[in-house]
Assembly symmetry: D2
């Protein structure tokens, strides 16, 4: 049983802590957060210790591995601290908001041969894993076109948006990661457009709420991403991959499988699952098992800090493209 | 090109006449109906002759085959007249409302080696034909259970219901035919219940508006039929066949493939196609081609008068069962 | 926090124990099972005590409520023991294999005003709860016809089948419960047929592997159930309710929402979820919350021992009907 | 009854001629084609006259309206000839392969107040018309993003491709028309990428087989089009429109509504309809009725030569963008 410290007792920390506590392969030793009330309550509920500073939890002798769910500003420091102690890490994305700092950290982590999984939740979604398997098994032959739809249910709070780094770095980053993975090749060219169709006042941040991206790889594979900060019908996350032998579609999820028929409408379903916590409840559990599997079999992590860095690079290219109205070569970045 | 007379210029006669007129393998020679205005207008539109009595149209030397879409009371007489002249026939169902008369007619037609197709429209539906092919190809192995759903969009006019022969003989008759065909064996036992949940005053006919049937074949295959004279969401016709290697489902049809998403509901489709004329528009065309194919290749018709007789027998068993509350053995009938 | 003892450390006991351990409203005090190795391992993993006899766990002062997941033969005794101590109970179905013993127990539990939930898992399925809400909200008007499909993925082991009480009492019992609930009225008449289409040797038990049931309520509402011990495509559980204003359909579940398109086939999905443990993973959690809600608000349980008894009565009627080939009046039972 | 001449006895001419012959509001007077055998056979089958030159058929006194389905090079000349005689016209797309010639023709037709419908088949598809109605009724609020998928089942013959004008002008042209219509605003900016993923030898034409387009309107609405000359699973034509109040999806069509379940796969459907003749069989009938409605009510045609010209402009912008790798402003064209 791997003994784990969970850093962060917020929304995402709670989920990870509960999964660690109930996974038969792990033991939750301590949750750490400077927010005393929060961390005390969480520790009590889950029957583990509470710590008020992150570093001490990392350092404990009875902690074998670390789960980082703190604010972004602590990610690099805590990852490096754990890795230098030889402890494997799961770290929430992003590595850092700044590309150069993130790049330096990734290179340092790689130099140290750190065992670090970057927690891109969609990489552990059962649907994504099924797509992955179909592609790897050659079911659709050579990949040609990837289409990614990603819409949040509602505009986030203004304060969140102002510190988010912009829609491409905050939201589309997950889609850039999906794009890289599903294309099977690195995009070499990015074109993006951004609009403010939900809230024109985002111009003062400045940010966009509705964007479309078009990317191409060196061999000519193509990818389109569309993204919007608001979809009244729920959290809309669809993937499509077409290839020489077929196509794969990933449809949305709902809270139930009931369909209603009436005089005006038929096959009526309820709204989509509200947001990522509901949509990815299973992903968080699978993520933990995937981490444990990689450690046990000494295999590569399914998502690495390098993946985070390369997705961030595409987000930066898209941001520049939307601002300049020009195509951006990824290699120039 | 087969030269055809269409008998009957009503709703169904019009459809058959237009299909004969535009099928490249047939020529519409004459439409016949004592209703002069109707038949004159139809003949003018389709560029053929009009006749005011059925028999003379059957007898014409330039008529090779006969399509009977008259009122039921003329079916037996006209089928026999054509068959005795050696002319093949497509005849609308039913053969006759009376089982004994129908039985005698079927035996006479068979004795005369008449080439007669009974126009059970669902036998020529592309969906049914696909189910048929899957079963024949062994896709679901040995058939075990058949479930048939059959609901009309709205209660028919009282006058129609009063002369309909009752829901089992008028409406469920199509489902009994499907049941026989999909089970691949004859039912030996019928149990049925009937209720008046749409219109309690049907008791004075007497008739039911909502029925359920359960049948069993000698080898133990099972079939359920549910039927209702009213479904506010449209004409509901579904088939399900489960077997040792899989299952087949036949879903409903709509006028378009658009799905709507909103804050309250997702994947919303329009109502089902309204009724059999819309639902089976293609079936009527395929029926004609199937008739021509059978003639050209000297093969059996896909639906025969004997099929009509055996479906009527099951309808009679169901009627007796619903009235007595007891199981009816088909062989005793 | 309600302090709970879980009786039984088998397949279902483990699920309930884990749910009790992670539900923030409950504390798992003890798991009890004469199977020492099993109960010790479970207690260790979940951080609670282990007991080797059921009764002592019921009696503990630090146990507020009892969750019975033992073999059926202990159900009545343990329910009554807990109720007499004033402790609320969740008990797995069935109450007892014998109708008369079950009836006596239900009457005694009711006399004692026991707070007992009978764990019909489908009553807590999110899909069923959505259907329930739609019916209660009048979305489909007055219920007319209910159709229930229930197929297991594969024939159970012979030993299980031999002690199961027969398909109607073992498997269709859940469907009888659904039927009662969805019809909104008690069935007054039951007709059933049973066949051995999967395994003819079941005759020696004797039991059936494929059955169809038809039931009617006093007002004429109708219900059909079809049930099979084997469906190669997975655990098939569908519900359909049609009414005066519309229809509700409950479709099956899969492990992912990926659809595959190729040259031969399109919209291809993976098999259905394998069996009830996967299909009803959420139901077991909701069941616990529903129990807690009922206790907190002093409301009726969503499923009671009386519900179990009435479902058993229908199963007995169906068994008799299939054996005699005759319709069985429920009131005569 | 409008008396109509159909020009062209090829694949599309045959479809239009049959629809004219069976529409109760029209009379097919003559079909014209220099291909004598073809036009004679068609005229005989449909009971109308045959002509061997297009112009004489246009000029006939007993012809009220003209349906042009000739090779593209005759479109402008024949449209103008009919319009100058005051005869309304339905003309197959494109107006002309050359933008300047097409532009001059459209301006001349508009100056003459010609009643001309350009036969963009998708404008008359029941699915498109339903989308149109939903948008016009405000069901999805203000349109934000449009996503268009358009894949042909198989690469066309080399000779066809060589004279096609390129994928954007030959195939994507329909999608550009859909984009303009569904966006409700003119695109002002076009970016496109083209690849040869199906057949690398297309470089010698030169042409692409796989393209993606991204467009933006002045108010910031966005549109993505993806297009491929090959999809092994059939003719793939999907539309998606998201707006402030919801989303609309247009799914594909199949030849039947049967779903198959087996041990390996469930809900399996047959391939999509093979190509546009099957997919748009209904559209061609609705197109004729829409033309007749516009004439009778003196309303605008649902698709005009100007629409053809503006779609061609977007195709040219996309061609330039794919060739230069740069964004193209539509206004500069």
């Amino acid at each position: 049983m791997l003994r784990i410290a969970v850093l962060g007792a917020g929304r995402i920390g709670k989920i990870h802590a509960a999964n660690v506590a109930t996974n038969p392969r792990t033991k939750l030793v301590v949750v750490a957060d400077p927010w005393k009330d929060g961390v005390d309550a969480l520790a009590k509920q889950l029957g583990c210790e509470a710590a008020y500073d992150y570093a001490s939890a990392v350092d404990r002798d009875d902690v074998d591995a670390v789960f980082i769910g703190t604010p972004t500003e602590f990610h690099i420091e805590l990852m490096l601290r754990a890795v230098k102690l030889g402890k494997p890490v799961i770290c929430e994305k992003p590595i850092d908001m700044d590309y150069e700092r993130a790049k330096a950290a990734v290179e340092e982590l790689e130099r140290l041969n750190g065992r670090v999984m970057l927690a891109f939740n969609r990489r552990f979604d059962p649907d994504y894993l099924r797509l992955r398997r179909a592609i790897d098994d050659g079911e659709i032959g050579v990949v040609r076109q990837v289409i990614i739809t990603s819409r949040d249910p509602a505009l986030a709070a203004r304060a969140y948006l102002e510190s988010s780094g912009g829609i491409f770095r905050d939201m589309t980053i997950h889609d850039f990661d999906m794009a890289r993975s599903l294309l099977g090749e690195e995009p070499v060219e990015v074109f993006a457009v951004g609009s403010r169709l939900v809230d024109p006042t985002l111009e003062s941040i400045p940010d966009y709420d509705s964007v479309m991206v078009l990317m191409r790889t060196a061999s000519g594979r193509q990818c389109h991403i569309n993204c919007c900060r608001e979809a009244v019908y729920g959290f809309d996350q669809r993937l499509e991959i077409s290839g020489s032998k077929g196509m794969l579609l990933n449809e949305n999820h709902r809270s139930n499988n009931v369909r209603r028929y009436g005089a005006e409408a038929t096959d009526v379903a309820d709204p989509l699952l509200n947001f990522f916590l509901e949509r990815h409840a299973d992903s968080y559990k699978i993520e933990l098992d995937s981490f444990l599997d990689a450690l046990e079999t000494n295999s590569p992590m399914l998502a690495t800090p390098r993946d985070g860095l390369l997705a961030l690079r595409l987000a930066n290219c898209a941001t520049e493209s939307a601002e300049t109205g020009k195509v951006v070569r990824v290699g120039n970045y």
